[in-house]
């Protein structure tokens, strides 16, 4: 197939799913947390408040655009462009469906660009995420955004290490950087984090750490130090109005969706599951949804760490632990257990 056509055929539905998912996520989160807190959440706009995200988007679009006098105007206006861009772009390598070859091998499909450095693509883009947010914080020339930007970078780069290292575990098992190869490996050897093979223990711990690190990368509670509205009043978003603020929020919701999808692919078999391969898309979306709900459940149940404790947790525990996991999985592979 022509690569451009391919990109459009898969990319446009993926984009629609991500954008719709993010819009729905805001609605879902409010309803879900409302139920959890014995209140209602949005009920007025549309049936069960379903159109609330639309109303919110429209409201944000109409808001006046204010750039503080002291701000660095160019960078202040440019910074919101990048967070959603990077998040959406990192979804390009995630396979969402599966087919079975003529020789019976499961092959992951539904991926925009099956790059053979898939994981690296995701990690590199995730590593770039901190810059637009830092720039947003810096450009506003406000002490709160500045503090938040510095926290953001410190946290983002710190948690990138355990995230990359934990993502290495499936890479070591599969012997490939491509996400579809990782799925194919799991089709043969069982899910990385949930199977009967001995590697699943290592995989399960790696999945937990990867999930935690993704929470931190996506600034979700208990790791949402950069946003910390109880002391920093919303972090880098303080000076942003209207749609620019909305874009940052959108990027956050997109990030949770992509992080859940990535965890599902790397450790929980992605589109794999019982039943015919056609169900792959359903399995993938189901697993993403479960992880996604988990993220919100965690968010509305826990308090947040302090910035130093966050660093402590990362550098004292997560980094060495994930290194141990990498070495253990290497031993398993070298010993022929995986």
């Amino acid at each position: 197939m022509n690569p451009i056509v391919h990109a459009l055929v898969i990319g446009v539905p993926l984009l629609t799913f991500l954008m719709g998912g993010a819009a729905l996520a805001t609605w879902f989160e409010r309803r879900f947390s409302g139920k959890m807190q014995t209140r209602w959440g949005p009920t007025v706009v549309g049936p069960a408040g379903l159109l609330q995200p639309v109303a919110d988007a429209l409201k944000m679009m109409q808001k006046e655009d204010i750039v503080p006098r002291a701000a660095d105007r160019t960078l202040f206006n440019l910074a919101p462009l990048f967070p959603p861009f990077l998040v959406i772009a990192s979804a390009a390598v995630i396979p969402f469906a599966a087919t079975i070859d003529a020789d019976g091998a499961v092959k992951a499909t539904g991926v925009v660009a099956d790059l053979d450095i898939g994981i690296l693509w995701v990690m590199a883009l995730a590593g770039l995420m901190v810059f637009p947010i830092w720039v947003a914080g810096w450009a506003a020339n406000n002490k709160y955004t500045m503090l938040s930007g510095m926290r953001m970078v410190a946290q983002g780069i710190s948690y990138e290490i355990p995230m990359v290292l934990c993502a290495l575990v499936p890479v070591i098992f599969a012997g490939s950087l491509s996400l579809s190869d990782i799925v194919a490996y799991q089709a043969v050897h069982g899910w990385n984090a949930l199977s009967l093979s001995p590697s699943a223990i290592v995989g399960a711990v790696a999945a937990l750490l990867f999930f935690l690190a993704s929470l931190a990368e996506a600034n979700r509670i208990p790791f949402d130090i950069p946003e910390a509205e109880s002391e920093l009043i919303g972090g880098v978003m303080v000076e942003y109005t209207g749609i620019k603020f909305g874009i940052f929020m959108l990027a956050e919701y997109l990030h949770t969706i992509v992080a859940s999808a990535l965890t599902a692919v790397l450790f929980f078999g992605g589109p794999l599951g019982p039943g015919p391969a056609v169900l792959g898309l359903g399995w993938m979306l189901g697993k993403t949804l479960v992880l996604f709900v988990l993220i919100y459940w965690i968010r509305w149940s826990l308090y947040r760490f302090r910035s130093d404790q966050l660093m402590d947790l990362c550098w004292r525990i997560l980094v060495p632990l994930s290194l141990v996991l990498v070495m253990l999985s290497a031993l398993l592979v070298a010993g022929g257990f995986a």
Partner: protein, 159 residues
Amino acid sequence: MTAFAVIAGIILASGLMVVRSENLVHSVLWLAVTLIATAVQFVLLNAPFLAGMQLMLYTGGIITLMLFGVMLTIRDEGVDIPNPSEGHLAGAGAALAFLVPTLYAIWGTPDFGPMVDPITAKDIGSSFLGPQLIAFEALSVLLLAAMIGAIVLVRRKDP
């Protein structure tokens, strides 16, 4: 070829902005643009793994370091973080003095033939775990030394 020209244009333009920008943070961010464009160039040159490394290590790591370096040496001078430059003539002269003979040498030698097979990450791995093993292990020591040295230099004395 068009893609190459566009990317080369971005690299050179942003490179010029790096050395001409008045604001140090802008300069660093222009450097980030150069590095990202170079990563795209790497993809065009059939080196996708290195492109990923360029994004992750170079852009992710070095720009962070640079930004933090700026934040650590900043002075309270209002909005602009100045990045003064002077002696443009001498600078341009030095640059040209390098550029002219180099370009002469490049265009004087015959072009390499068509490329060999695309190089995958696996090849790179076998390369540094095999022939370049000594360099690889030495690198770890170098990094260790650099880090310890930097910590010793940067750490503020305990009050």
